[in-house]
């Protein structure tokens, strides 16, 4: 399974949650599969999805699901100690780990070689870390939402991207409708 197939499968679970989605093709895929006002699409700023989501989870009570990638987490590896030490039980970090930088031509990441992001997250102090295979993502994500415990999910999947259009929505529109959805 590749990321877009996972996103299609978990779209019904994500639909009612606040979602912060990683830059590039992941946001394009989610936007094309199931655009919702509860989705915050990152149009730039590689690496900060997990930080934006954590700030959001700490600031308000609704569940927050961050869809991140292995390359982006490696870019902002300092995020994992911050997540571990500022526990928000409404926060789920879903790292779709396809071992590659998908938006830039599928170059391999270190997570696809020797580095285990699940072990890094555990070593950083994250208490609920679940590594799963792509096919199990929906079940693991639903269980994490039901558990109401801060959870880091590392979903191992194949490298590859679906061809989706670039998001042309204005960033202020994305942000404004997202903030209205947060307050609703």
């Amino acid at each position: 399974m590749i990321r877009s197939e996972i996103l299609k499968e978990i779209a019904p679970i994500l639909r009612d949650e606040l979602v912060v989605c990683n830059i590039g093709i992941p946001s394009q895929e989610l936007h094309a599969i199931d655009d919702q006002p509860t989705n915050f699409y990152m149009l730039g700023t590689m690496g900060l999805a997990s930080s934006i989501g954590l700030g959001l989870a700490l600031a308000q009570p609704k569940p927050v699901v961050v869809i991140d990638g292995d390359g982006s987490v490696l870019t902002n590896l300092g995020t994992l100690p911050t997540i571990a030490n500022n526990v928000a039980d409404n926060y789920i970090l879903l790292i779709i780990d396809n071992g590659s930088y998908g938006s830039t031509g599928d170059q391999p990441t270190y997570a696809g070689r020797k580095t285990s992001l699940a072990k890094v997250a555990e070593a950083c102090g994250c208490e609920r870390v679940i590594e799963c295979q792509a096919e199990d993502t929906g079940r693991v994500l639903q269980e994490a939402l039901d558990a109401r415990k801060m959870t880091v999910i590392v979903c191992k999947c194949e490298s590859g991207n679906a061809k989706m259009p670039v998001i042309t929505m204005d960033p202020v529109v994305i942000r404004d409708r997202f903030m209205k959805a947060v307050q609703a």
């Binding site: 149009l43 700030g55 300092g78």
Partner: protein
Amino acid sequence: MSIDTRITDDLVASKIEFVTTVPCKQLAGVIDEIDRRPEIAHVPSNKEDEGMGLCAGAWMGGKRPAIIMQNTALGVTLNTLATLTQFYRMPLPMLISYRGELGEPVACQVEMAVHTKALLAQMHIPTYHFHHQADVAELPKILEFTFMCNKPVAILTDASFWGGY
């Protein structure tokens, strides 16, 4: 009243409830004071761009944020300021320790100090420079301005303002 208490009082009065910090010796007193205030959630970050991500999320979640950092880190935040804070039009008061100014004992700090105002100007970030302790009187208005215009706004605080090292 100490300058640290004064600054923290102003943050609380401006309803800033979420502060992220990367420490600097000059900012140690303010950070301690923020930790003592139940009105403010203090989430230290490991890097300043990470902190700006936290602030963006906190603001979208309904809390007014602020970042406290040193000017030497300005370079690592430029992409975040442009593509997150400015692109999505988000407010962000940046209380910045302006190292490398008069009284600085560490030569290397001057190397980023000479670029600090130029970078902020290039980024079109409204910038205020606190040099005398009395300059702190403008802080409430600067905070009000920041949340009025939804922009990152820099407050540079140099060694003379803090009363030396």
